[in-house]
């Protein structure tokens, strides 16, 4: 379990998601059942490497594009948009 049981509420594609503090944004997106990215030929994609190398988990966080969601922790009120 993430270090703390404190919970954090963020929005993924406009829908509120409650996660334990210490949860990565990538894990939060997967919990919603959504894929994270659409590839250049239109395929749904999810995380591959889990360590900030492959860029398959990139999404927009609080208005900033191309954030590697596997290396960013969820914070209260965060707004995440997948493509």
């Amino acid at each position: 379990m993430p270090e703390s049981t404190r919970s954090v509420v963020l929005k993924v594609n406009g829908l509120p998601v409650t996660v334990a503090s210490g949860t990565t944004v990538a894990a939060a997106i997967l919990m919603t059942g959504s894929s994270i990215r659409t590839s250049v030929t239109g395929e749904p994609r999810g995380p591959l490497c889990g360590m900030g190398i492959c860029f398959e988990c990139r999404a927009r966080i609080d208005g900033i594009e191309h954030q590697r969601t596997c290396q960013i922790l969820c914070s209260q009120g965060m707004e995440v948009h997948t493509s």
Binding site: G22, A27, R45, C54, H66
Partner: protein, 441 residues
């Protein structure tokens, strides 16, 4: 406006932590740069108790005078003695007297039909997701690929309540004999192995076995496995598949460190071919956490002038050479794995370039120019590594062709006289004339 460190360490996994702790004992100003939210690297990832040894080192790190530069990703080495790094929308420079590279390794991925489906990911990657909060209890997981990581991941996921339905190791049983023989001389590793086997009791462990296809609609639903010509389908929620590890050499390559046979070349005190640049851990050879800790300590002592201590530890390192070799032999890939990808199987996931499109070309450079493979944001870290095995091509990662930035960076970060406040959210990928704007083309 760069911040100066006598000794700067890049990467806060076991090697980097050991290097920073050992170097800071000398009273030098030590910095530890790492791109993750917390130190520990991949193996001592936070989100679960990583064990007593990790706790010990993390406690030592906290007690040390080393300055933690967490969340900073190094993107460039604009000149000798200076690194440039980004964090979120910020860019900074760190100057150094001596540099210790502890950039770790990543999993090797091999393409097969369906490997691009969501919920097919690396073995370490699924483990990282779970440590990062992904619920896994009750989920059906197939763990596949090669190397000791598979069993470690399967054990951890089982303890978290996952139903690990199969562990598929590509190596044939004969390859385990020398590896197991080596483990007998390392009781701690042996005990660890036994604990993994206990945790995965009841799970089918296949050798000489691998996934040949993953199927599903919007995400993974089923995996087809093959062993000695027999094929069968397994329904699952996740496929955790990684073919051992490859070192992260980009920064070492950019700095100009000599790379031999796919690894950074060092002397017995972890000195690279570039003056004042040391390297420790997986980039010098995949040897696991014990070797990484030793090399990190040696580099930390050597960089801070405590040569006697460094030399003493270097003697101990020699005894580990056998394990590194046994691991390499165990994880040598079966040539049949070259045939997993079909013509239409995507190899380059950034640019969606197929195996068939890449195969037509004579080498990596030609394929890049003609198909754009390796020119997306991962900069060929995934497909270049696969292409080295699939086509016997040399990609850019093990030679002097590394160009800055070593990760996609903000345009503002690339200016020679950079400003750290300006916002520009387009990413520049080196080796291309295009930038990735809001939407990937």
């Amino acid at each position: 406006m760069s911040e100066h460190f006598d000794i700067l360490v890049v990467g806060a996994g076991p090697a980097g932590i050991a290097a920073a702790v050992s170097a800071s004992d000398s009273g030098k100003r030590v910095g530890l740069v790492d791109d993750n939210p917390a130190p520990g690297g991949q193996i001592w990832r936070s989100g679960a108790s990583p064990g007593a040894e990790a706790d010990q080192w993390l406690t030592k790190l906290n007690a040390s005078s080393a300055i933690r530069l967490q969340g900073w990703r190094v993107i460039d080495h604009p000149e000798r003695g200076r690194l440039r790094a980004e964090r979120s929308q910020e860019c900074r420079e760190f100057s150094y007297g001596q540099l210790i590279l502890a950039t770790g390794a990543r999993e090797r991925f091999l393409p097969f039909p369906g490997w691009t489906l969501p919920n097919v990911m690396g073995a370490g990657a699924l483990d990282a997701m779970v440590r990062g909060g992904l619920p896994i209890a009750g989920k059906r997981v197939v763990v596949a690929g090669t190397g000791p990581l598979l069993l470690a991941v399967a054990a951890h996921l089982s303890r978290r309540g996952a139903k690990v339905v199969a562990i598929c190791e590509q190596a044939r049983p004969g390859r385990f004999v020398p590896f197991a023989a080596h483990l007998l001389s390392e009781p701690r590793k042996l005990l660890q192995g036994v604990s993994y086997l206990t945790a995965t009791r009841g799970t089918q462990f296949y050798t000489g076995c691998w996934p040949i296809a993953a199927t599903g609609g919007e995400k993974l639903e089923s995996v087809t496995l093959e062993r000695s010509g027999t094929k069968w389908d397994v329904r699952c929620d996740y496929l955790a598949c990684g073919f051992h590890l490859v070192p992260n050499l980009e920064l070492a390559g950019l700095i100009g460190c000599r790379i031999d046979d796919g690894f950074v070349s060092t002397d017995e005190l972890q000195r690279t071919s570039v003056e004042d640049v040391f390297c420790a851990g997986e980039p010098t050879g995949i040897g696991g956490v014990d070797v990484a800790l030793l090399e990190g300590r040696i580099a930390g002592f050597a960089a801070s002038g405590r040569i006697t201590e460094a030399v003493k530890l270097a003697q101990r390192l020699k005894r580990r050479v056998g394990f590194v070799r046994a691991l390499r032999d165990l994880t040598a890939l079966d040539p049949k794995l070259k045939k997993l990808a079909a013509g239409e199987t995507i190899v380059c996931r950034c640019e969606d370039v197929s195996y068939g499109a890449m195969r037509k070309h004579a080498g990596w450079r030609a394929a890049k120019l003609q198909t754009r493979c390796g020119m997306g944001p991962c900069q060929g870290r995934i497909c270049g590594t696969a292409a080295e095995f699939l086509f016997d091509w040399r990609s850019d990662h093990d030679d002097s062709h590394v160009r800055p930035p070593v990760f996609p960076a903000m345009v503002s970060s690339l200016r020679t006289t950079h400003i750290n406040t300006e916002h520009d959210d387009s990413l520049i990928v080196p080796g291309t004339s295009t930038s990735i704007s809001k939407e990937t083309p």
